[in-house]
Subunit: 332 residues, 2 copies
DNA sequence: ATGAAAGCGCTAACAA
DNA sequence: TTGTTAGCGCTTTCAT
């Protein structure tokens, strides 16, 4: 393996000069720069990023801890983050927390060990008493994404309350009174907020809240499928359903199809989270679509600012969703 | 920041002892080990992975260069790889090559600079004359995934020819003669092989090959949508279509829906690549499903073997696909 | 059972 | 404009 020392020897200069031509960190005489470049070329030298990171004290690396990477929503979020980061010259290392505290701890520990220059976390339930303090203790800049927790750091996520409320109200305006809801994983803010939006819609229209219509979908396709199947095969089923995230939507659709129930005739349906192929589902889904690109880009922006040493007061940013009006809700 | 030296001082031992208790690399007296552990606890020490990598000469990191990360197929492939790797104690760093040579070069360069211990690449067209030689030159163990190129290294990918042939033959057996095909990005082996399978099916049944029925979908949803739209709005349209990857399938379905054509009545449809939600599409798609988990796990297995120094002759592994018989093809 | 010391390959003062 | 030198924090031989 060729090192900078080898290159220096070939070019007849010092290692420090080689380093400077490589990084453009100081003016180098054109003639010597050319010699160095020739030597690099000739020797097939590649810099050692590990040594570089150790000496410089920064890795140009950012860690992301997130769950359910196979979920298309998180998947696009990861790529929105990656795009913004690589535009800024950073490399992203992703770890899957599986929305489970111990697993999240493993991921963030490994990221911290690798000396990431910054960290973006979609916190699992309970994060604030284990992993988050660990991170802040190291002084690594941190921003929370997708969900918030009550800790002093930057946060970016989608707007939840008003969106879930709007979704529910749409159903109400269509004349529905018995509206079931698929609620997500407990302990995370997005679940609470979206559920609050649902309740607010009912309350705002004088509809009594009925606990029997609340399904615990646990943000999972399988759980949602089971719950919807159970509720819908019982007598006296609701005539409308709102699903509070995309994974649960899939489960709900599977269950409804299995039961032979038609949307929107038997059940009107709306959901939080859009699908890239929403047009190909039958029926086309009325959904509140998150703006993942903005969320990802904003998270990166906030993080880079912190990494530059900015210590302004932490921001909590909410990115609005867009209502996609299609036909699963049952309006013309 | 606390270093190993600090811990050593607190525990009243040498740094080397601290290192050994941390890594279990040599026997340490229980009493001293306890003192060291206490010192670690008390000081909140975290090891510096960068320094560790530099000293040890290995990073416990593997690089993956792949394209179209938002494509669900590649997405699951990435996660299959990640799962296998993290089970073996490695961290995966992923880069998106966008199936474009310069971009692939940027990704692999960055991975190599970071001193990954091994590399998995889904080669873009032309890779064998630019990035791949670069990688082998560094001596970094390499395995190719998804597509092959004629270079002496391990490769794992799906079976293409027989699968595409079976798909096409199914249509033929249903009585179709004018069968259009959506062909993928040119220059990559999977495109060639799947297309070969299509031609072989026609040839095997004495059906003349018709160039006008070959659509260049470029493995992209948009291109496929345009091409299918054009072909299907012209007169004398084919009555069957085979799509050779999932991105193009989406495009085809969009175009057909836009034209108001019904599957399978107006056009029988089969595709290479399955969808997780294939049951929710209308109609349910008859597809050849790749076994991503096996492909990913096999790639990792081959790579780890090379990383251990095995220098057996390179293997080319093909993982069979599974035929999912549903109703877009038009059989009962 | 433990320690001393020599690096790993690079960056960045500080000198010249 | 360039070189010298002292680390960065760890691993690992070689002693003891």
């Amino acid at each position: 393996m060729t090192t900078m020392g080898d290159v220096a020897r070939i070019a007849g200069v010092s290692a420090s000069t080689v380093s400077h031509v490589l990084n453009g960190t100081r003016k180098v005489n054109t003639a010597t720069r050319l010699r160095v470049e020739a030597a690099i070329e000739q020797s097939g030298y590649r810099r050692n990023g590990v040594a570089r990171s150790l000496a410089a004290g920064r890795t140009h690396t950012v860690g992301l801890s997130i769950s359910a990477l196979t979920n298309p929503y998180f998947n696009s979020l990861v790529h929105a983050v990656e795009r913004a980061l690589s535009a800024a010259g950073y490399v992203l290392i992703v770890g899957d927390s599986h929305d489970e505290l111990q697993s999240e701890k493993r991921v963030t520990d490994s990221l911290l060990d690798r000396q990431v220059d910054g960290m973006i976390v979609a916190p699992a339930a309970g994060s604030e008493r284990l992993t988050l303090p660990d991170i802040t203790r190291t002084g690594t800049p941190l921003v929370l994404i997708d969900r918030g927790v009550d800790i002093g750091c930057d946060q970016v996520g989608p707007e939840n309350v008003a969106s879930a409320r709007a979704l529910t109200e749409h159903l109400i305006e269509l004349g529905h009174r018995r509206i079931a809801v698929l609620r997500g994983l407990s302990g995370i803010s997005s679940t609470t907020e979206r559920f609050d939006g649902y309740r607010a819609a009912l309350a705002g229209h004088g509809i009594a809240f009925d606990d029997a219509l609340v399904l615990d979908g646990a943000s999972s396709t399988e759980a949602a499928e089971r719950q919807v199947h159970a509720l819908m095969s019982a007598g006296d089923r609701p005539n409308a359903l709102v699903s509070l995230n995309n994974a649960m939507t899939i489960g709900a659709l599977k269950a409804l199809r299995a039961l032979g129930l038609s949307i929107p005739d038997d059940v009107a349906f709306v959901c939080y989270d859009d699908f890239e192929w929403a047009d190909l589902f039958e029926p086309r889904l009325t959904a509140a679509a998150q703006d993942v690109d903005t969320i990802g880009a904003t998270a990166v922006e906030l993080l880079l600012r912190r990494m530059r040493g900015d210590d302004a007061v932490p921001q909590h940013i909410r990115v609005p969703t867009a209502m996609r009006h299609r036909n699963s809700c049952g309006c013309a």
